[in-house]
């Protein structure tokens, strides 16, 4: 009896190391199915990123060439006034669009969640701009904000002759004109995500809060919003990815003007690479963009995912 026990124990211990490599083949079909995506991610995203970073240290002009040029592309980048304007605009645009999209999206969702009449119609209307591309959005707002045929002329025709609202023609506030268009286009989607999150909150919680006599706004700020943390994270990632790549909206609305005051980094990259036929400079600028994304992303990912393991 004892021997059989021993024997089976030995057999088990022998089988265990033999069984471990089998893990690689567990869910084999799922792994094979995901292989193309993994390859795409590694070859195209990582591979091309490395290629771009490497070529940013060369003096490539129209064609990519491996002629080392040290840090001169970066030196030129950081001595170009247009680059500073671009970063400043991206920072203003990024921070404000993050705050406003989240805030407006949540408030709209909360209002819709109060079981109002015609919710479907209103939801559709608010989400509708999201169906438009940035180019169309940009053109629409270029016309709305045009002083000769848009908002300003309408208000003036009502009799308020001194009314002035032409953000797209004022270098100091042009970026806010672009921000308005971005908010108009983007808040609908965030509202829908928030609304889905609100609908996911258990009715019982509302009942409990009501019994305890907690005012509605306090229930939102102290109970509902903390519960919706994953929804906020999803929204944040969606908004952030839209901010870094903002390009087409600027092209359609202002073309970078007036006087280059609405330039953004993505446009600097495109213009350097294709209009100026200076690939090295464009690569250097896009490497800086990547670097800034990494600087923001790593601490966030560490807090988000590292924190859970500890807790």
């Amino acid at each position: 009896m004892a021997t059989t026990h021993e024997a089976s124990a030995i057999a088990e211990s022998r089988a265990a190391p033999a069984r471990r490599p089998m893990r690689l083949f567990r869910n084999l079909s799922a792994k094979i199915a995901s292989l193309p995506m993994v390859l795409v991610a590694v070859v195209i995203f990582v591979g091309c990123t490395v290629w771009t970073v490497v070529h940013s240290f060369t003096n490539s002009r129209l064609l990519p060439k491996l002629e080392w040029d040290g840090l001169s592309q970066y030196e030129r980048l950081w001595s170009t006034p247009r680059w500073y304007v671009s970063i400043e605009n991206l920072a203003i645009f990024g921070i404000l669009s993050m705050i406003f999209t989240l805030a407006i999206g949540f408030v709209l969702a909360a209002l819709l969640d109060r079981k109002i009449r015609g919710e479907d119609v209103i939801r559709t209307i608010i989400l509708y701009p999201f169906a438009l591309s940035f180019v169309v959005t940009g053109l629409v707002w270029q016309w709305i904000l045009n002083p000769e045929l848009g908002l300003q002329s309408v208000v003036r025709s009502w009799g308020w002759q001194s009314f002035t609202f032409d953000p797209l023609y004022d270098a100091d506030i042009v970026i806010y004109g672009i921000l308005i268009a971005a908010l108009w286009q983007g808040t609908g989607l965030i509202m829908c995500i928030m609304l889905a999150g609100l609908r996911g909150v258990d009715e019982e919680i509302w009942k409990a809060a009501k019994i305890d006599g907690i005012p509605t706004w306090k229930t939102y700020t102290h109970v509902i919003i903390p519960m919706m943390r994953p929804v906020f994270v999803t929204s944040l990632v969606l908004i952030a990815s839209g901010i870094v790549k903002v390009y087409d909206l600027v092209i359609a609305q202002t073309g970078g003007g007036p006087g280059g005051s609405s330039e953004v980094p993505a446009k600097y990259v495109m213009d350097s690479m294709f209009a100026a036929q200076n690939l090295g400079q464009g690569f250097a600028a896009s490497t800086m963009m990547l670097l800034s994304v990494i600087i923001i992303l790593i601490p966030w990912a560490y807090l988000e995912f590292g924190g859970k393991k500890r807790g």
Partner: protein
Amino acid sequence: MKLTTSLLGATALCAATAAHAVDLEVTHWWTSGGEANAVAKFAEALNATGTHTWVDGAIAGGGDTARPIMISRILGGDPMDAFQFNHGRQAEELIEAGLLLDLTDVAEANGWKDLVNPSDLLDACTYEGRIYCVPVNIHSWQWMWLSNKAYEDAGLAVPTNWQEFVDTADELRAAGKIPLALGGQPWQSGGAFQVMAVALAGEEAWLKVYRDKDAEAVMGPEFTSVFEAAAQAREFAQGSNVQDWNQATNLVITDQAGAQIMGDWAQGEFALAGEVAGTDYTCLPGLGVTEVISTGGDAFYFPAQDDPEVTQAQKDLAQLLISPEVQVSFNAAKGSLPVRGDVNLEDVNDCTRKGLDILAAGNIVPATEQLLSPDTAQQINDLMTEFWASTDMSAADAQQRFSDIIANAD
């Protein structure tokens, strides 16, 4: 079985027709009404030869949009058969990389060297002694267009040179007109500055800066006066809140603005609006100070192909584009000047006549595309856009930054 035979038959038929005639895909960015009309003359002429067919590959959105698309197609190994470029330094690297067809034998066989006038145009197509493109027209930047009616409304005489324009600008403003119309696109401010530089600093100082890349010359007295004039012009341009060049031209056509500094393509807009040179509008080449015209323009390049038949067809097309009949019909439609000295344009208006006379007298300067790399041109455009749009930047600051760009230019 039946299907296989018919498919084989079809393939054989295709192969047979391909052996006789070649479809030439030509990409260009001439999409506005007048431009499309002009490029159709090329297509008609090619199709009329009966051997080759013109396949139109127009790309809308102007040169800045079209150039990257063309370049990426050539680099990607799927080149078109011919493409339009502004000749000069934009295609330099494509030539270095051996991606473009060498046209030297066609050029020599047909004596392009003797018939292309001014010869600068062919020089711009030449790289290390070999010819890579065929120039098709001359467009020059050096023009100021003035609205006669706008000055009449203000009770002023139409200026005949820059100084008179400056002197009357304030009175024009007082009469409710914008003295100088300027669109917001970067190349417009870069171009307007460059026109003022040639006109006010003189040809010699201008060449020192733009051709010899002499940063010292930028800080010299000639260019100081240019920057001061540009600062004045910036004041005059306040209130022209438009983006596109033709919208700015339209301000002059509708007499809301006194003048615009723009290339001779603006004349197409005046013609379209039914205005007559001399009575409705006035043109001042070289701002009425230094009467020169720059010999910029368009040219066609031909990407290298493996198939010798296609190569032959490309060379046929190159010769066709520069032939006298095609030059006349194309340039008449385009509103530009022909690249040959031996053809006559009939019924030209006052302004085109002025241009032809200056050309005949040999008062020409090279176009900036021939002197500056696209990289440097872009930097200058960026600086000028900033300078023209914001009154914060002083003329001296702009001059300093311009000198830095020229010092680092290649």
